[in-house]
């Protein structure tokens, strides 16, 4: 069954001539169509995908194919794609055909990947359950009444259900890692500055980072190799060489120092998740790693800190949606201010409006120092915690999420509880470090559990190596939900 294969395997099959990209793309399109009930995609453009597949096949005939040439990939609907609807899961952009390509899209195009479709997401990436999408919630393939996590829930569900072998996501406070954990796939949030943000619709500019979501660490390495790199169009993009992430996958883990922060194993962590994470650490021990106990003393304040900084930046980033140049404009209004207020009231959903207001308040006169500046200082303390921790270890491990997938609607009326889902992922974004989530077991309800790996700045190669070695001796990542 070609659809259960990884990117690496599909790439090998294409290389061996076992099938064409056109056939492979056709198969993915059919599966996507069969599983529309997941609501994983906002846009599937079969014509465009097949045209790209045809070009990929020609490219292969000419002997110019790379590892991703002809492989179907899904893109989170946050990446501007020239000539294609790019909605960010919002009514505000529900009619927005992007007039240019994000750098990430351009890089996948240059690699010859086939863009199968644009995946569903929490509106403007604000959410942890994919329930804030204007296009409706995404279902978790493991259990139809459970959330897939968010905000990259569509990408996570699409990969989990093997509609595509891999997809992209973006991660501002956990939006790649948390859905990867809740769906049982591999997700990597790179170091801030590793992947260009140009064309990736901004949520919180100092935290956002795009990255791969795949079945395996090996596939994530293949995708990151395409996505990463300096971009002169992004002033926060770092000009550092991109290593060959695949080449270092098999490095030995003997002597690897794994840091376990006590704060990641305290109150609020689901017992079954804790058990699975501890079991995974035992696997690493058996591979020759050592365990170091340590503390990230300020990490318990990461969520409050984040809920100042991210909404503050978002309130400003989302000001451009005013109904003047593109996107939604309210059909009726009395004057300019009324047009703005109605357009934005109708164009944005409840959670986005909530965060815009929090951010507006945190930046407003008289509150800036108490909220925004305070949060920026706390951010430094949190980053400093990690710096000290990495003096004693090479990688930090813990749970990705405090629980497994919760039920649809379970937390929609309780924003604060919803926010606490990202308690283990948010500190990583605040520090700008790379983080991964890999499948590490299931709970008694049959829902996946994610193990989080946190690395040093620009240490993605090592994270992928650590994840890959685990996947060589476990098979959690190979499990496919029943019915898929």
């Amino acid at each position: 069954m070609i659809h259960t294969k990884t990117v690496a395997e599909q790439s090998a099959a294409l290389r061996a001539g076992e099938l064409s990209s056109t056939e492979l793309t056709q198969a993915c399109l059919e599966r996507t169509e069969q599983h529309r009930e997941l609501n994983a995609f906002i846009t599937v453009d079969a014509e465009r995908a097949l045209a790209q597949a045809g070009v990929a096949d020609e490219r292969r005939t000419r002997g110019e194919a790379g590892p991703l040439t002809g492989v179907p990939i899904a893109q989170k609907d946050i990446f501007c794609t020239d000539g294609m609807l790019t909605t960010c899961g919002s009514r505000m952009l529900s009619n927005f055909t992007a007039p240019y390509d994000a750098t990430v899209i351009r890089k996948f195009n240059e690699a010859g990947a086939v863009l199968l479709g644009k995946t569903n997401m929490d509106e403007f990436a604000m959410g942890s359950s994919n329930e804030t999408s204007f296009f409706g919630p995404v279902k978790n393939p493991w259990q139809a009444d459970a959330v897939p996590g968010g905000s990259s829930g569509g990408s996570a569900a699409a990969v989990t259900a093997r509609l595509v072998p891999a997809a992209t996501g973006t991660d501002t406070g956990g939006s790649i890692r948390q859905p990867a954990a809740l769906c049982g796939i591999t997700g990597l949030k790179p170091t801030y500055g590793r992947v260009s943000r140009y064309g990736m619709t901004a949520f919180a500019s100092s935290l956002d980072q795009g990255g791969p979501m795949a079945q395996t660490a090996e596939d994530a390495a293949l995708l990151l190799g395409v996505m990463a790199g300096f971009d002169p169009r992004d002033s926060t993009s770092m000009d550092k060489p991109v290593p060959d992430y695949v080449q270092s996958l098999n490095h030995d883990l003997k002597g690897l120092r794994i840091g376990l922060p006590e704060e990641y194993f305290g109150e609020g962590l689901n017992a079954e998740v804790a058990t699975a994470v501890n079991a995974a650490i035992e696997v690493y021990r058996s591979l020759g790693a050592e365990v170091v106990r340590l503390s990230l003393p300020n990490s318990n304040l990461a969520v409050p800190c984040y809920y100042v900084l991210a909404p503050a930046e978002a309130s400003s980033n989302l000001s451009r949606y005013d109904g003047v140049r593109y996107g939604y404009r309210a059909p009726e209004y009395t004057d300019l201010t009324d047009m703005y207020e109605k357009t934005r009231a109708q164009g944005f959903g409840a959670e986005v409006k909530r965060r815009i207001m929090i951010g507006t308040y945190a930046l407003s006169a008289g509150y800036y120092d108490a909220y925004y500046l305070k949060a920026q200082k706390l951010r430094r303390l949190i980053a400093e915690d990690f710096r000290q921790a990495f003096e004693a270890c090479d990688v930090i491990m813990g749970p990705t999420s405090p629980s497994t997938a919760f039920r649809l609607g379970e937390m929609t009326d309780d924003p604060v509880s919803m926010y606490l889902n990202d308690i283990y992922t948010i500190p990583v974004n605040l520090a700008g470090l790379p983080g991964m989530s890999i499948p590490a077991g299931f709970d008694s309800k049959g829902l996946p559990i994610g193990l989080q790996l946190i690395g040093q700045y620009f240490d993605e190669a090592r994270l992928l190596n650590i994840a890959h070695r685990y996947q060589q001796v476990t098979d959690w990542h190979k499990r496919i939900p029943p019915g898929f």
Partner: protein, 477 residues
């Protein structure tokens, strides 16, 4: 009660970069609407700003010219407000840490020198333009100007009269053009001025409540607007009222200021550091490189003109009022290899007169440096007289060729041949017996009559000194 006005100016100078401050779109003025507004300028989702190095250089240039502190690290911040010509809903500007701080300019008013402090100069992007002519009751938005680099130059409230404000503004205007960082064109909005005006009882330390006069876009109006506003505030205060802190627009047609109706309703700009832009860090090498490109500044040039060319302070001032005119003058002196004062007279007199009459800049003068120098050489070597030279100048202006060609074609060469002049004089004397008699009887002013007749007979070409000399010899007395 005696009232004392207090005035501070905020000048927005559009920097003369080729591309915008945060995008690679052209800054050229006058293009069709929105044809120079790229993805970054119109604020599409996902676009990001990338800073233009030239804008940083120009800001440093100004900073060095006004003796200011150049901050080694400055920060771009977002100023958040909604306005249709502000595509992102925020303007990228500098707030807490501007690139330039604490400079000054010296102005001269009524023969008295005064130093005006410059609090700061910061880099920011311009907004687009709202076109208010009627599109079925709608306003049209042109974003070509969006993200054009601006340097906002904020003075201390150091000025005490409209006259001082105008002197400061002219000085700054001259400076930015000297530095070639701004074209200074007020009509096109590349040099805009807002004035903060307040009044207080003379002798009191504490400042009065100020109003901000927006967009006074001509030197002609600046003193009128400020004077009006000073009077208005005094009237309010003397009538027992209070000045309201507000933004006012100057209505040039009516000669009054009036409060703005919309834009500034209790704004809370929610400034915060722009997360898309790391801090702007300028090292010593960068600043020294800019210093090397600094031109000679107006004051230094003026002093040198007085010293080296023996010009009066007034003439030196006129000649250095723009860098272009000063350069023209110096090149002409060198090319003509003649008395610098003679060259100065031609540049200040005829050339400036013709330029003014036709509303032309010196750069567009049909008479090049080389042409003017050619003319002056012919005066100096006595080929033509100063009077004839004016006709030659006029002919050059009307594109009839250079001085030598015109002198040749029109036969304007001066008559210096003694025999020929003598012959002309003899004829004049023979035809003017009455006047000769008068002269003989002691009416010496008739001499001028003879000179005039001789010059006329020679069609102005006879060398006047020779005419004088020979006439004197021929007339009895």
């Amino acid at each position: 009660m005696k009232w004392e006005p207090v005035i501070g100016l905020e000048v927005h100078a559009q920097l003369l970069t080729k591309s915008k401050i945060f995008s690679a779109a052209s800054t050229r003025y006058g293009a069709a609407p929105n044809t120079q507004a790229c993805a970054v300028d119109i604020g599409l989702p996902g676009v990001l700003p990338v800073m233009n190095i030239e804008a940083a250089r120009m800001a440093v240039k100004l900073g060095l010219a006004i003796g200011a502190t150049i901050n080694r690290q400055s920060v771009f911040a977002r100023k958040n407000y909604f306005y249709p010509d502000l595509p992102k809903g925020y303007q990228i500007s500098q707030y807490e840490l501007p690139v330039v701080e604490q400079g000054h300019l010296t102005i001269e008013v009524d023969g008295r020198e005064k130093t005006v402090g410059i609090t700061r100069a910061h880099l920011e992007e311009d907004a687009g333009k709202s076109l208010h002519e009627d599109f079925h009751g709608m306003t049209g938005i042109d974003l070509n100007r969006a993200s054009t680099p601006l340097l906002e130059i904020v003075s201390e409230p150091d000025m005490r009269s409209a006259k001082e404000a105008v002197a400061y503004l002219k000085k700054l205007h001259e400076l930015v053009r000297y530095l070639e960082i701004c074209d200074g064109n007020m009509q096109e909005g590349s040099f805009r001025c807002d004035a903060n005006v307040s009044v207080r009882p003379k002798g009191r330390e504490q400042l009065g409540t100020r109003s901000e006069l927006k967009n006074i876009n001509s030197f002609k109006f600046i003193d009128k607007a400020i004077d009006y506003e000073i009077e208005r505030q005094i009237d309010v205060l003397e009538g027992g009222g209070k000045v309201v802190q507000e933004t006012r627009l100057y209505d040039a047609a009516k000669g009054v200021t009036r409060p703005m109706r919309s834009k500034e309703e209790a704004n809370d700009y929610r400034y915060f550091p722009d997360p898309d832009l790391p801090p702007l860090v300028l090292d010593d090498a960068f600043i020294e490189d800019v210093r090397k490109t600094l031109p000679e500044l107006p004051e230094a040039k003026r002093a040198r003109f007085v010293q080296d060319y023996g010009l009066s302070a007034y003439d030196a001032g006129v000649l250095t009022s723009t860098r272009e005119m000063a350069d023209y003058y110096e090149q002409a002196v060198e090319a003509a290899n003649a008395d610098p004062k003679l060259v100065a007279n031609w540049v200040i007199g005829d050339l400036s007169g013709y330029l003014n009459k036709e509303n032309k800049e010196i750069a567009d003068s049909p008479i090049t440096v080389e042409m003017l120098a050619g003319l002056i050489r012919r005066i100096a070597d006595k080929t033509i007289s100063g009077k004839i030279a004016k006709d030659v100048f006029d002919a050059m202006w009307n594109e009839q060729g250079d001085a030598d060609t015109i002198i040749e074609n029109k036969g304007l060469r001066q008559i210096t041949d003694e025999g020929a002049i003598e012959k002309l004089i003899d004829e004049v004397l023979a035809n003017s017996p009455t006047q000769v008699e008068q002269y003989k009887s002691g009416q010496e002013k008739v001499f001028g009559y003879f000179v005039g007749r001789v010059m006329k007979a020679s069609k102005g070409k006879a060398n006047p000194q020779q005419v004088n000399k020979i006439l004197k010899a021929k007339l009895p007395g």
